[in-house]
Homo-oligomer: 329 residues x 2
Amino acid sequence: MTQQSPDPLLSPDRTPTLAGVERAAVKVAALLPQTPLLPLDVGGRTIWCKAECLQPVGAFKIRGAWHRLTDLTPDQAAAGVVGVSSGNHAQGVAWAAKRLGIKATIVMPSNAPQMKLAATRALGADVVLYDRVTESRDAVAANLLDERGGTLVHAYGDPWIIEGQGSMGIEARAQLTERGIAGPDKVVACCGGGGLSAGLALACPDAEIVAVEPEGWDDVTRSLAAGEILSVEDLAAPTECDALQTPQTWPINFAVLQARGVRGVVVTRDEVRHAMRVAFEKLHLVVEPGGAAALAAILAGKVEPGEATLVTLSGGNVEPQKYAEIIAG
Amino acid sequence: MTQQSPDPLLSPDRTPTLAGVERAAVKVAALLPQTPLLPLDVGGRTIWCKAECLQPVGAFKIRGAWHRLTDLTPDQAAAGVVGVSSGNHAQGVAWAAKRLGIKATIVMPSNAPQMKLAATRALGADVVLYDRVTESRDAVAANLLDERGGTLVHAYGDPWIIEGQGSMGIEARAQLTERGIAGPDKVVACCGGGGLSAGLALACPDAEIVAVEPEGWDDVTRSLAAGEILSVEDLAAPTECDALQTPQTWPINFAVLQARGVRGVVVTRDEVRHAMRVAFEKLHLVVEPGGAAALAAILAGKVEPGEATLVTLSGGNVEPQKYAEIIAG
C-alpha cells in the first residue's frame, strides 16, 4: 500500500528515536510558535501545564501530522494520505495536508463530536465514517488504502507520529530551562493509543512517565500492568473523553512505554470534569475532557507532583453545550 | 499623600513616554513569559489576538502594576500602596505587592464579581468596598490615603500604569517581527479608563488605535468625539463588561489618546457574547466580557481589520455560571 523508501529513516517500520523527536522539534519550531507552559499551584507545589489546546487545530496532534507529512517522498505525497482518528488527529492531518497540498482522507467514528467532523471537513479532508462499536477503524482504513492507495497516517502507531508528538517534550524542556528549572523529572500525559506518551518518553529520557486514561478505556494501563497488549473490553463503554477512546495500543508504542517502565493511571468522569473547571478558573483555558485527563490525575491525588512536573493539556475541542454543562457543574 | 521624588522620571505627575513603555517591557520580560499572539481568520483576513487572559492574574493588569511597584522608592514601598479597581487591576497590584513584600489596600466595588474579590483577598490584599452607583471610588481612595498614607496606584490615570500596559504592544511587535510581519498597523483595544489604549498608542506610534467600550459605558468614545472629557451618564447602566466600567477617563490618558487621533467604538452585549463564543471555539481561550470587547468590534464589522491588526483579549476572569450561560447561548 505505502511505498517503501530505501532510506531506513523513511521506512514506516523503523523504531522511533530521540534523534527523530529532536528532528521533529526543529520542524515544528520552524512552523509553529511554542505553546505556553503555564504554572499551576497544586497544594503548594508548582506543576507545568503545556497548553496544547492553543495549537491551530486545538490539539497537539498537529505535531505528529506535520512530522509525518513533511517526510513523505514526492510520489507518496502525490498519492495522498489516509488518517484514522476520533477527531484531533483528523484535524492535524487535514491541516498539514492542506498546507502541503496533499489529498487527505480521514476515517472517523460516526459519533465523533460534530465540531470535530465539521472542522476536519472545513480543512478540505474527505471524511469516511465508521461505527465505533461494530467496526474496526484500522480495517476500514486498510480497505481504503487498498482501494485508493496512499500512505496510512495512523493516529499513534507510527514512528513519525510518536516522534512528532514527542516534540512537545523538547519544547517544554527548553521552556523550563529558560525559567532556570531542570527537568521535567515527571511527565503526566493524557493517553489514548500511546503516541504522545511514547513520544514524551523518548523526549524526556530522565523523567518518570505516567500515562493517564479515562475509566472504561484503560487498555494501556492494563497492558503495562500485565506486560502484554490488552484491548478495551467494552467498546460501548461511556466516556466524555472521546479523544482517548482507542481500543488498543500498538506494538511500536507499547515497546517504548514498556522499556521506560511507564505506568498507567485511570481517572473518573468527575475527576476529569473537576480538572476542566480548574483549567477554566485558574488558567483561563478551554480544555476538552480528553485533554484534561492528566491534570485530573494530579488534582485527584493519583499522581504525586515531582520537582518539575510536565502535564499535557492536550486539546480544547469540546462542544459548547457540553462545556457549559461541565463548567456550570 | 505620596512622596515626591526629586527624579523627574519618578514623579507621579510626569508624562508617560515610549521610552517608559520600553523600560516597562524590559522589566515585564524579565518577570513573565510572553503571552501568545494567536492568529484568527476573520472573513479571510488574519487578525492577531494577544491572549492576556493567560497572565498569572488572568489579565494584562499585572504589567502596569509591576512597572509601578518596582519603581517605588524604599520609603514608598515601606508605606504600602492603595489601588482602585473593579477587579483585574486589583489582582495585578495585589500580585505585584505580594511578590515585592509591599502592603496593598484595594478599593473595589461591592458588586465586583465574587471571584475577583476572592482572588484579590487570596493574594493578601486588604479589600475596601464601595458602592459603584452612590460613591466615587477616587474619593474613597483619597480618604484611605489620608488615613493610612501610602502611594496611590490608580487603575489607569497614572504614567507607570499607562507605560506598563503599553508593554503588551512592545511584546506583540516583537512577536509579529518573529513571524516576518511588519506592524501592527492597527491596534484594537478593550477600553475602560484608557490606560491600555494610551499605553498601546505610545508603544505602537505608527498604528491606528481604536478604543472599544461597552454600550452604556462609552465615556471615552464620547470624549474623543467631543474633544473634551465627558463622564458616563448613568452609573447604574447595566453591562456584563465589569472590567470596563469606568465613569470617566483622566487627563493623562485623554491627552495621549487625543494627540494620537484615537477613535472610540461601542459594542453591544450580544456582540461581546458572540466574541466570547468565537474565542472559546476557535482559540480555546476563556475570555471575560470586558476582555472580548475589542474582538467583538471586529467580528461585528465595526472595525475593519488592517494588514496586521493587534487585538487585545485583555482578561479571562469570569464566573463559571455566567460563562456557561453565555457559551451555551
